[in-house]
């Protein structure tokens, strides 16, 4: 399954990832090779009735009581945020809604 330049640009938009024009042809080529490689999975016969894998780990999901507990951080968000003011993360506004 190879992908086109437009496919890569569409996926990059979904992933909120800027892709530069310069690197685009190599990226299209590498993604095509990766997808062609993994496409061998669809050629495997008789996996129709197979149930999908459930990760090992806890026998049953354990829940903890739903209560507010302080799990103190060594430093507040203002020390790690790129822009923080009066208890809020500062971001540029959303210009327009995209589908």
């Amino acid at each position: 399954m190879s992908v086109t330049r437009d496919d890569v640009l569409r996926i990059a938009r979904l992933a909120e990832l800027e892709v530069d024009e310069e690197g685009l042809p190599a990226l299209v080529d590498q993604m095509s090779r990766i997808l062609e490689y993994v496409a061998q999975l669809s050629a495997v016969p008789a996996s129709e009735g197979t149930k999908p894998f459930l990760p090992p780990g806890p026998d049953a999901i354990r829940f903890r009581p739903d209560e507010v507990r302080p799990w103190p951080l060594a430093a507040g968000p203002e020390t790690i945020a790129p822009a923080f003011k009066e208890g809020f993360f500062v971001v540029p506004k959303l210009e327009q809604f995209e589908e």
Binding site: I11, A15, V19, S47, P56
Partner: protein, 455 residues
């Protein structure tokens, strides 16, 4: 105090390997402070343990080998770090790795590649290459790494040290930066099976902060067995293909002969879905990565690469500039295989195949096999630059390791010989939560095998 200084000196001396990301001055200062505060009764008292840079520490920055977390200092620490410190260990700096643990050579680090300690033209493996290189160079007795598809065992094999990936759920992942959450597990490097096992025992066990961590006591270390009498070791024929590197085959044959001499029963087994493990992994891991890495957007932490335009322009610019090429590829592949119209053909099929790979192992163990023995990697350490532009060739260096991650099983690599001076690793794959059996077999083989002799 003087031991902290000696530990720092050894690490600084290994600087040419570019295996440690922590600057020397900061390392010396922190080690001295940690040594002064360490509990003398701890079972790892005074032991320096280097830590892969995708495990959160309060002492040092946590960058995951990425520009998108440059300078990031976590406001909390991983449970494994808390446990190590409680046992008296010293956190000996942060080690270089492939960006977000995505890679098999440590060439995909934003901070330059780490070098193989025996041949600087070669890679130490990856993604935990810095940790493996430091242990191999004798700079630390043990180090932490993480595994999603072989990122501890593969570099352990390349560098000639011991690497253990425990069962999924054995060790808390709280504070391990997430890549593929159904696969990720923290692992350990040591110069010997015992050094690695000792550290694993300390970091294992329950943690209320990680719902995927099993409610079990810490791993109890087995004693070194006199023989392998009673052990049934399976050799999966799919792991010994006709084109396997001849030296790797010779080293494995020798190890098998030694295990037989120690009393083990050895039989051939088949894991028929092995060939599909790598393509399965390279659907599931990128799918989970594309979701996990959505959090890096330049808003709450990490640098912001462009403040102009609207918020989506900010996301795209930060992610575009902050992520390196392999991470970008995986996010795109992951987004693609999860997108409408492709989900069933890729992700759905990969989840089914994962079940079949796991079933292969269950079938082998149900037929009375205790452990499997295989080569860890198809070749010894390759040259830097050899695979960096060919993602699929790079992915295939994980061919013998990804299966244990897909099935969630414990596995261990130990040195079993050399070819032209380069180490070769042999791998045990064990049954879920039976790390103790796997360690017993590894103790016995380690004592018998001439690990530094040509195979």
């Amino acid at each position: 105090m003087s031991e902290a200084k000696a530990a720092a000196d050894r690490l600084v001396k290994a600087k040419r390997l570019n295996a440690l990301l922590t600057p020397p001055k900061e390392l010396r200062k922190s080690l001295a402070a940690q040594a002064a505060a360490a509990r003398p009764t701890g079972v790892l008292y005074g032991m320096p343990v280097a830590v892969k840079d995708n495990i959160c520490t309060l002492e040092f920055t946590t960058t995951c080998g990425s520009k998108i977390l440059e300078g990031y200092r976590s406001p909390y620490e991983a449970t494994v770090i808390t446990k190590l410190k409680a046992a008296g260990a010293l956190i000996a700096g942060k080690t270089n790795c492939d960006e977000f643990a995505m890679g098999s050579s440590t060439e995909h680090s934003a901070y330059g590649r780490a070098l193989h300690p025996l041949d600087k033209a070669r890679v130490p493996g990856g993604s935990s290459g810095g940790s493996a290189a430091l242990v191999a160079a004798g700079a630390v007795p043990a180090a932490l790494g993480s595994e999603t598809g072989g990122s501890v065992r593969q570099p352990a094999s390349f560098c000639g040290v011991v690497g253990i990936k425990p069962t999924y759920g054995r060790v808390s992942r709280y504070g391990l930066v997430a890549f593929g959450s159904s696969l990720d597990q923290i692992g350990v490097f040591g110069r010997s099976v015992h050094d690695a096992a000792r550290v694993l025992s300390v970091i294992s066990g329950r943690d209320p902060r990680d719902a995927t961590c099993e409610d079990r006591d810490p791993l109890r270390l087995p004693t070194v067995p006199e023989s392998l009498q009673g052990f049934v070791i399976g050799l999966p024929r799919e792991y010994f293909p006709a084109d396997l590197d001849p030296a790797v085959r010779r080293a494995c044959d020798r190890a098998v002969r030694l295990m037989k001499e120690l009393g083990a029963a050895v039989r051939e087994v088949s894991l028929p879905h092995t060939a599909y493990a790598v393509p399965t992994y390279y659907v599931i891991a990128p799918a989970e990565a594309s979701s996990n890495l959505a959090r890096y957007d330049g808003v709450r932490y990490g640098p912001r690469f462009n403040g102009a335009g609207d918020i989506r322009a900010l996301y795209r610019a930060t992610r575009g500039a902050g992520f390196g090429p392999e991470v970008r590829r995986r996010i795109l592949v992951g987004t693609y295989v999860l997108s409408a119209g492709y989900y069933d053909a890729y992700y759905g099929r990969a989840q089914q195949m994962r079940a079949l790979v796991a079933q292969d192992f269950r079938n082998a163990f149900d037929r009375g096999v205790d452990l499997l023995f295989t080569p860890t990697t198809p070749t010894p350490a390759f040259k830097a630059g050899e695979k960096v532009n060919d993602p699929v060739a790079m992915y295939l260096s994980d061919i013998f390791t990804v299966t244990a991650n897909l099935a969630g099983l414990p596995a261990l690599s130990l040195p079993i010989g050399r070819v032209k001076g380069l180490p070769i690793g042999g791998q045990f794959i064990g049954q879920a939560f039976l790390e103790d059996e796997m360690l017993e077999a590894a103790y016995a083989l380690e004592r018998a095998v001439p690990a530094t002799e040509e195979a």
